[in-house]
Subunit: 143 residues, 4 copies
C-alpha cells in the first residue's frame, strides 16, 4: 500500500481553550478535518477539484473517534499527523496522532466515504476512483 | 441504576454547515458537550458548582466517538438526548442520540473523568462523589 | 417602514467560554448570524429559498461591529433581538441587541448585501427584490 | 510610539467555510484573536503570564469591527497583520489587515481593556502597566 501521509503543525490559541484552560475538545476535530483537507491539496489538488472529478458532493464523515492522552493549552504547538490506513470498497479510514514535543496528546480516526447525492439523500459511492487520484498524486510527488 | 437523562433541541443554522451544505462535523461535538452541560445544570447546579464541590478543574473528556447516519442542514431541528449509561471507578460514560423528526442523524458516546490538577498534569479522580451529587439531584427532581 | 424583527434565546454553554470564564467573542457573531438566519425563515422561507429566488449565492457580510457591555457565561440565557433598520440600494443593515435578564450584554450591527457571482469574484446586487420578499412575508404573518 | 506588530499566516480550510463556499465570518474574529494572542507571546510571554503580572483576568474586548473587501475560501492563505495603534488610559486599540497575496480581504479593529474582577462584575483597569510590559518586550527583541 502506498503511504499517504501529511503533517500539520497547529498553534493552539487562547480562544481554542475552555474555562478549565485546556482545549475545548471539538477543536481537535476541526484540526483533524483541516489536516485531512491539507492532505487532499498535497495529493489531489484539494477537495473541490477531487469532488468535481468524482461527481461527489464531499468526502464526508461516517464514523469518528478520538482518545485524549494529555491536555493542550494556549501557546502549545500541536503536531498532528494524518495517514490513510485503509481503502475499502465504500469507505476509507484515516488515522490521526497529535503530539506536543514528545508528549502524546490525541489519537483518533475518521471513516469517510465518497458521498453522492441521490434524490433528497446521500449514498456512499465507490472509493476506487478516489484512491486512483490520491495514489497518482503520491506518484507525482515521488518522481 | 437511577436514570439520568436530558434532551436538548438544537436549531441547526447556516453557519453550522460546510460548503457541501451539511453540518460541519465538529459542531456535533459542540452540541454533545452543550447537552452534557445542560444535564449538569438540571441535576447538579452546573459544572462550576459541581467542580467546586469536588475539588475538580473539570469533568473532562477521555474518549469520544460518533457515527453519522444521515445529514443535518440549515433549518433542521436536531433533538439530542444524552444519558449516563455507566458509572465506573475513575470514568463515567454518556450515550448520545440525535434525531430530526423520526430520522436518526447521529449516535455517539463520551467517556469522561473527574479531572484533578496534580503538579503540571491532570489525573482522573474518584467518580463516586460526582455520582452522589447527580443522583441526589435526580432524587430532588422526582420528589 | 414595515418592522422586520426576530428574537432568539440562546443558552450560553461552557464550551462557548474561554479560559477567563466568559464568552469567547467570535461566538457572539455566530449568534448574530444564526439569529439573522432564523429571521430569514420567519419572513422568507430561509436563506436557500430566498437566494434561489434572487439568483444570489448568499446574503453576505460587508461590514460588522459590536460593543460588549457586560460579560456572559456558562448557564446564562442570552436574549438576542435582530431588526432590519435600513434598506439601501445595494446594502441592508441589521441592528442587534442582546440582554441577560435586564442586563445589556452586547449591541451590534451587520451591513449585508445580496451577493451575485460574477466571474471569479462577487458583486452586491440590487436589494429591492429581497426587500419585497421579506415584506411580503411580514404581510402574510400579520394577516 | 514604539511599533508593536505581528503577522500571522492562516491556512483557510474547508470547515472554515459556509454553504456559499466562503469563510463563515465569525472565523475572521477567531483569527483576529489568535493573532493578538500570538503578539502577546512575542512581546510579553503570553496572555497568562502578562495577566498574572497585572492582576487581570484577561485583556478583554470592549468594541470590535471589521469590513470585508473580498472573499476567502478553502486553500487560501490569509496573511493577517495586527498592530497596536493606540494606548489610552483604560483601553488600547488594535488594527488588523488581512490579505491573500496582493488582494485585500479584511480590515478591522479591536478595542480592548485590562479587565479586573470587582465583586460579581468586571472593570477596566489602568493600561499603562500593560504598555510597559509590551514595550519592554519590544526593546529586548530589538537589542
Amino acid at each position: 500500500m502506498i503511504e499517504i501521509v501529511h503533517e500539520n503543525s497547529i498553534p493552539v490559541s487562547f480562544g481554542d481553550c475552555d474555562p478549565a484552560g485546556i482545549v475545548y475538545y471539538p477543536n481537535h476535530f476541526r484540526w483533524f478535518d483541516a489536516t485531512f483537507h491539507a492532505l487532499l491539496y498535497r495529493y489531489g489538488g484539494g477537495h473541490a477539484a477531487i469532488c468535481d472529478g468524482l461527481g461527489s458532493i464531499g468526502l464526508g464523515l461516517i464514523d469518528v473517534g478520538a482518545t485524549f492522552r494529555s491536555p493542550a493549552a494556549n501557546g502549545d504547538r500541536l503536531d498532528l499527523v494524518v495517514r490513510i490506513v485503509e481503502w475499502n470498497a465504500r469507505t476509507f479510514r484515516l488515522a490521526y496522532r497529535g503530539v506536543i514535543g514528545e508528549r502524546l496528546v490525541v489519537e483518533g480516526f475518521e471513516l469517510r466515504g465518497v458521498f453522492i447525492r441521490e434524490g433528497e439523500g446521500l449514498r456512499a459511492g465507490a472509493v476506487a476512483p478516489l484512491r486512483a487520484v490520491i495514489e497518482a498524486g503520491a506518484g507525482r510527488a515521488r518522481s
